[in-house]
Subunit: 470 residues, 2 copies
């Protein structure tokens, strides 16, 4: 591949590619409401067709999954995994229309696209196609075969994806590796590469009035709490028992399967921290967090990459509007997510939560499971991982290697069900996913496109040892 | 007064009075949004004018208060206290348009008006005027002078009422007693009379991310809880420390000023419970509560009338919509109301809550005060109270005498600021105030009108001892 020629072509063509990407971002595709889902799935099929590939919008019990093939009779095959669904935009404080894909000049970042999905992950997905079209314009043909599995339920826990993977296992297993295109540079420009992803268990704890007390059918006048118990007090008591005042999880058995980082990854992590390659202050500044659970940055990174979490995503009971209303609610709920590290398994973790509630006398509190899938890991020696590391080194000079992604994605489907390794990556920067003013920088989109080209080159040609190895 | 002639007149005229009452109920007058407040205040002034009285819509820093006079040079003067504001209607499960005042046939209750404010308290207010117009049609003139103080902020803690009472003290003090017209019959038809009302302290506990941890500006991706603390966990810990698992309040000093019921009221309560006059099962059935805090009904009634409460009215943090969203919120809040019994004082109680948080290491959690006013009590010997008791005995045969109203109203303004006794009453039944499908029975409205006439007669003529005394 004539990488430099393709990079030059992408620069030439960027203004037009940018408009294509913005048009794709403007398509609403809100996971849990289903708004715009079908149209966006069709648009993804159109992107595959724009490369000359064949696409199929596969119906599922939930949102459709777009399967596609661009077969070039090349020696190597990449399975492109991605998602076209996004989170809702109910947060306060949006500075622009959440699906407007407007370009605003952000402090320290420069011109940036403000849009739900800009970084997570319709932005990188659309930019990947732009990059591949650039390769085709210069080279005529791609150096790899591409398969596509682009789902529409990632933000709801990829519920239909495992069944799809089973159904299409024959096609998918033709891939050598799975690539998830993403903008991996942080606010300071540092790219990172993850060697796995945490598992996700997302539940709702529901406390209804019943035999233990509380109103059973509707909220009643608040003044009756003098003689009627309150589900909000009961749920509060139950929740408070899961952690101590320092927010340490105190659930029996919760940590039984947690194992320390593999030695090689632990060494690599401390080497990166020691050399100043990884700086937690960048995170504190970017996320407006004044204090981490650990004062010491080394301990903080260790915790992030080696520890599970039990997070309250949402709390609700009674009246939450302006001013005052006195009511004794008949129901109180909490949305909670667990992020699991090796070797925790979702069903076992769920059982520890249930047992904890029961031990505390909260047998009546229901645990409703929304999402549940395990962690996955991959090897630093995986050729695609090494190719991505070389890509970062070539184009940016340095890269952080993260033992695991603190977030979650259903990569276990590839690793466990299909036996496929995977790599996440790309240059480019965006942030505020799941929050207001989600953005990606405009310059980062072009860097991302170039990095995808360089990755293809590195992946197809393989390493020129010894330089470039980690 | 020719009571029976007036009762007959009210029956004759009821169909037309009912339509007037429904029209008044259809006026929205939502306290905290201000929707329809001004129009409803003007309508109240119109009701006073319909008796030939003079009304003034008095501006306040909040919603206007309607002051009125109907001076008949009578020996006795009643100050009619009431409210024209209502709670919002955000609850699920309304079977009819919340301000439609539709008539539906309710099980065991018969034809009933479904409307926000039907019982709390625009229904009784409008019906009182209908009753007085009936007296005028038969007698030409009322046997008492009437003063009116009808506020529009009762559901927000009557914030402007004390200042108004001070400003109009000269006029208001001409009253012998304050009357609050209300439908006092329960689901089983039993009327009750209250000898006071609990005080109210309504606060919001607010936990924001800050120096202790947590995101400070916005919610961030839920996966970062692995190294960032969560305000929802912190608020949960703080709340859980206020009560034990049996929902007993465990705040130092909270109960210091709580004193037992006066002996005479305790004896009267015991007697009513012993005779089966007061039956907690009626409450359990009506409010769909399977178990009270006390298994024993006697203990339950004692608690209701002699103990304060600390109730969670609302809990909120993060994402509470359908399905899932993983977020680490930057803020968590709880709306809490305290109902105070003699001799608790709001400022002292607030100080115990603040001290409790501080002792627990929650100095950062803010307590925002929305409403704060003290309890009030009145004597069983008060002539107006005795007149109301005689009214119930005459028209219904029996009455429950409650040592205190578990709910709250700013009667301290009358008792403490103006030195005026007060009485709440009337036959009629309604329920589900502050909840969906608030209602009052149609038949009860007529009973209420008649009871207001009988009360006027009993109050102006005085007791014919010994019968009728309690």
């Amino acid at each position: 591949m004539n990488v430099s020629a393709i990079h030059a072509e992408l620069e030439q063509h960027f203004a037009s590619d940018l408009e294509d990407i913005r048009a794709f971002l403007r398509l609403k595709s809100i996971s849990y409401t289903g708004e715009g889902i079908r149209e966006t799935a069709d648009a993804v099929a159109g992107l595959i067709a724009s490369l000359g590939g064949e696409a199929e919008v596969v119906a599922t019990p939930g949102h459709p999954i777009v399967y596609g093939e661009l077969w070039q009779d090349a020696p190597k095959t990449l399975l492109i995994y991605g998602m076209y669904d996004v989170m809702p935009t109910d947060e306060d404080g949006w500075m622009a229309e959440p699906f407007g894909a407007e370009i605003h000049d952000l402090p320290n970042l420069g011109p940036s696209l403000i849009c739900r999905g800009a970084v997570n992950t319709k932005g990188p997905l659309a930019a990947f196609f732009a990059a591949m079209r650039g390769v085709q314009r210069v080279e005529g043909i791609l150096p790899v075969n591409l398969l596509f599995a682009i789902e529409g339920e990632e933000e709801m826990g990829s519920r239909s994806f495992p069944a799809f993977a089973g159904q299409y296992a024959g096609q998918l297993k033709r891939a050598d590796v799975v690539l998830f295109p993403f903008f991996e540079q942080d606010e300071a420009g540092m790219p990172s590469l993850v060697l796995g992803t945490k598992g996700l268990l997302y539940v709702e704890l529901i406390c209804n009035g019943g035999e233990w007390g509380g109103p059973t059918e509707r909220g009643i006048h608040g003044s009756y709490n003098a003689w009627v118990k309150n589900p909000a007090w009961r749920l509060t008591q139950a929740l408070a028992s899961f952690v101590d005042k320092e927010e340490q999880i105190v659930v029996d058995g919760f940590f039984d399967r947690v194992r320390p980082l593999p030695q090689r990854q632990a060494d690599l992590l401390s080497e990166q921290i020691g050399s100043g390659l990884m700086d937690a202050q960048v995170f504190r500044d970017a996320y407006a967090v004044r204090r981490l659970k650990d004062e010491d940055d080394r301990a903080a990174w260790q915790r992030l990459f080696s520890q599970p979490q039990l997070n309250i995503d949402g709390l609700f009971a009674g009246y939450i509007g302006p001013e005052t209303k006195t009511v004794l609610p008949h129901r109180a709920t909490a949305k909670v997510d667990v992020r699991m590290v090796p070797d925790m398994e979702p069903d076992e973790v769920l059982a520890t939560l249930r047992a904890h509630l029961d031990r505390g006398g909260f047998e009546d509190i229901e645990i409703k499971v929304y999402n549940s899938y395990p962690w996955s890991k991959l090897s630093l020696d995986e050729p695609a991982v090494q190719a991505m590391i070389r890509t970062y080194r070539k184009l940016h000079g340095e890269v952080q290697v993260w033992p695991i992604n603190p977030g979650s994605a259903p990569y276990y489907v590839f690793e466990r069900l299909l036996g496929l390794p995977y790599v996440t990556g790309g240059l480019g920067h965006g942030s505020r996913q799941h929050s207001s003013n989600e953005y990606c920088t405009v310059a980062g989109i072009l860097d991302f496109e170039k990095s995808m080209v360089t990755f293809l080159d590195e992946f197809t040609r393989g390493p020129r040892a010894p330089q470039g190895e980690t």
